[in-house]
Structure formats: structure tokens, C-alpha cells
Assembly symmetry: C2
Homo-oligomer: 231 residues x 2
DNA sequence: CGTGTGATTTGTGTATACACTGATGGCGAT
DNA sequence: ATCGCCATCAGTGTATACACAAATCACACG
């Protein structure tokens, strides 16, 4: 694989993970040394990060872009538009078997979440499978690409306002309804159920964010682990 | 300005103009010589074009991406989702004076189009002003960015299926309604009027495309000039 | 005459050298 | 002591040299 692509993926993951916090300056020489490559592929990676919005060009070089709580609502406005449309299109073109499998999994999420180990990670894995199935079903590269961008930024936000177990249970029911609508080929229901799900998801995140502003931020800063501490 | 940015803008415009047709291979050395710069900034420009979807990476280098009539519907599906949302948000945040000015202009489009010279160009200029006003009003960088991508691809398609004078007159009325709804702060109407407009726009383009498949394609291939020949 | 193999060539991927700009720190003058 | 100017330096922008991979063409062998 090309060094430039590896550098891009590495930096991208470090930014979404939070290892490279917002405002970090990404010096070309510094990153080149750290990644053991030359400046040329690093430059390539930085340009891609900029075009994706994960980094911004400053007069003094490139730095990791800011992501604030105000951004959450803006991001959800775009997400709402794209994913409702995606759900509608998926209901039209779907391979029913794929979504029937997903439906069963979403209906058994309570089992998944009762296992105390790594539950939230497993749930996000399931949501990723749903996203992949949607990407397949919409058969629209432009839409898939636009949603991928939104998901990238969303991944950064997940580290700021994490869902607790109760919210995950509700989310599973909402997801199950979306999947059911897609199986039934009911585009309107799929779109509206997505609307409902995203409204609830945003509300939960905003409430979480508000409670973080009043309380200390220490309790939620660790980036790994499971959902026990916030349940 | 940086050589890389100039190269990007140049190539980008040549692709959207159709000067560099789909399938053209963009050799690094070839473009570097042609633009009078070295390969490094050319590479940078090519990577940006790829991330924007205007070019694709092939095993044998980079080439201009294909844009077919099937893509039109897919692009409009994304456009529909984004612009309806944008209209809704704009109705909420708009600066009414800006849109009142635009409304007057859209109401006088018939004068603009009766002037036989450069009429379509002037109309697209007016639409650009509307787009800019929307970008300002939505106050959402994510949405603005997503719409910019769609508009870029749309610009390429405009050269394939051009609007005639009658369609432009109808479009002006549709645009005027959207603007009126935004002035009134009626988000639902703004969104639905946008939906109607995009449906009509797509229908017109598809009909045009179908008629091009039956007739000879010679009559519409020239890339400059005004709308007289298709009116 | 056809096919296979090897050499040449073309073009990308990467590293590095050079140039220029903007910042920073020190030194001198007021 | 403070302000201003000059020098040095850190870091990006660009060019170019080198490495490597793939495709093509030619030549030889079957």
C-alpha cells in the first residue's frame, strides 16, 4: 500500500479517536519523522484531511479542526436530510434478506447489552453493519459519499457525548423500526422513522452535553471502555 | 497564490467546462509541462480532484471521471435531500432584505431572457446569487460543503442537457416561489417548493436526454453560446 | 507464423534539496 | 528601559532526482 494512504488512515484515525485533539498543529516534518516517511506523502495525507474537514489550513501550517457542541446540531441537520433520503431509497431497492438478518440482531440487542463486557462497542458494530447495508441498498455513490463524510465527523462527536445503556436500548427499537419499514418497502415510514430516531439521538446528545457543562468533565473523558459508567 | 491551488482551479474548470472530457488521462508530467509547474503541485491538485469525485484513480494513473445520464437521477436524489433542508433552514435564519432583492430579480427574468444576448448565462448568474444567499442563510458549514460538491457535479451535467428558454421561464417562477417562502419564513413551503422545482428540473433534463438519444447529438455539443438553438 | 520471454520505456511513488516567507530573538540606539 | 531593526531560523512551497512497477515491443525459439 502507498505510504500516503497509510499516513492518511493513521492520521484520520488518530483525529477521530481524539489522540490528536482539536487545535493540534500537524507539522509536515514532525509527522514525517513520526510516521517514518518523507514529507511528500505526509503533504498528500494532510490535503485529504483538509478536504474532508478534519483539518484546516492555517497561515501557520495545518491543524486539526475544531469540533464543538454547536457543531452537533449542524451536523445532525445534514445527517437528517441525507439519512431520511437514504432510508427512503433503501426501502425501494433493498435486498430483503440482508435487512431481515439485521432486524433479528436489533431485536436481540438486549441480550447483547446485558453482557457486561464491551457492549457499546458491539452495538456500534451492529450499527455499522446497518450503515453498510444502507450504502449497498441506496445504489447511489453520491449519497454514500456524502453520508460517509457526515459519519466521519459524527465519530469525533461520539467521544464527546456518549450514549448510555438505556439510550442504546431505545435506539435499538428505533433502528428495528427503520429496518422493518425497509423490509416492507415502505419508504415514507422508513424516512419518518429515521427522522424520529435522529431527533431522539440528537436530543440525548444535547442533554448529555448540557449535563457535562454543569458537572465536571472528568468522569467522561476516558476514550475507551464500555457504557457502564454512564448508565 | 500557490501553484497547487492554481493547478486545481484550472483543472477543475476544464473538467466542468468539458474541455477535459470524461476518460481523459491526467498524466502528472503531461499536466506539469502544460501548466508550467512541477509534478508536486500537480499531484496535489489531482488528489483534490479525486476526493471531490471529478477524477478517479486508475491502476494506470488518474483520469477524468465518467458522468452519464444515469448519474443525473442519483445526483438529484442527493440534491433534493440537501436543498430542501437548506431551504427550510434558510427560511428560519434568512436576512429578508437579501431575498427581497432576489425576488425582484426573479420576477423580472422575462426581461432578462428577452434580451437575445447571453441570456442563459445571465440567468445562471442569478441562480448563483440565490445559491450564495442560501449558503449565507443556512449558517451550516457542513450543509454548504455538501451542496458545493453536488453543484460541482451538476455543472458538468448542465453541459449535457441544457435548459431552453421556456424551461428557464418556468424555473424563474419556481425560484420566485422558493424565495417568497423564505422571505415569509415558511420553512415547509420553502422545502416543498424546492422539491417541486427540482422535480421539474430533473424531468426536463431527462426528457432532453431522451430526445438526444433519438436525435443526433451534434446540435447540442457546442459548449458556449446562448439558448437560442434549443428554445 | 505464433507465442513466450526479456529488455526498454513510460509513468507513478517517494525522498530530498533548494527557495522563500514569516516569526522570533537579540542587540543597539534613543 | 523600551522600542525598533536586523539577523537567524523554522517551516512550508516547489522542483528534481531516484526507485520501482507495469506495459509494450522486439527478438528468438518452438
Amino acid at each position: 500500500m502507498r505510504a500516503g494512504d497509510r499516513a492518511y488512515q493513521t492520521l484520520r484515525e488518530e483525529i477521530t479517536n481524539g489522540d490528536l485533539p482539536a487545535g493540534t498543529v500537524l507539522g509536515e516534518v514532525e509527522q514525517a519523522v513520526r510516521l517514518g516517511i518523507s514529507r511528500t506523502p505526509v503533504r498528500e495525507a494532510l490535503r485529504q484531511l483538509i478536504s474532508e474537514g478534519l483539518a484546516v489550513q492555517r497561515p501557520r501550517g495545518v491543524e486539526v479542526s475544531e469540533v464543538s457542541f454547536e457543531n452537533i446540531s449542524e451536523l445532525y441537520d445534514v445527517r437528517l436530510a441525507l439519512e431520511c433520503q437514504a432510508a427512503r431509497l433503501a426501502a425501494r431497492n433493498r435486498d430483503a434478506d440482508v435487512f431481515r438478518t439485521l432486524l433479528v440482531d436489533f431485536q436481540h440487542v438486549s441480550d447483547l447489552l446485558n453482557t457486561r463486557d464491551r457492549n457499546r462497542h458491539d452495538y456500534y458494530e451492529l450499527v455499522n453493519r446497518l450503515d453498510d447495508a444502507l450504502d449497498q441498498a441506496v445504489r447511489n455513490p453520491y449519497l454514500v459519499s456524502a453520508m460517509a463524510t457526515v459519519r466521519t465527523h459524527l465519530a469525533r462527536i461520539r467521544h464527546m457525548a456518549r450514549s448510555d445503556r438505556a439510550r442504546l436500548m431505545d435506539a435499538a427499537r428505533e433502528h428495528a423500526l427503520i429496518v422493518q419499514a425497509i423490509i416492507d418497502g415502505d419508504g415514507d415510514l422508513a424516512a419518518h422513522a429515521t427522522h424520529v430516531h435522529l431527533y431522539n439521538s440528537l436530543s440525548h446528545r444535547l442533554a448529555k452535553a448540557a449535563s457535562l457543562e454543569t458537572h465536571s468533565a472528568d468522569a467522561v473523558s476516558p476514550d475507551e471502555g464500555d457504557a457502564r459508567e454512564t448508565a
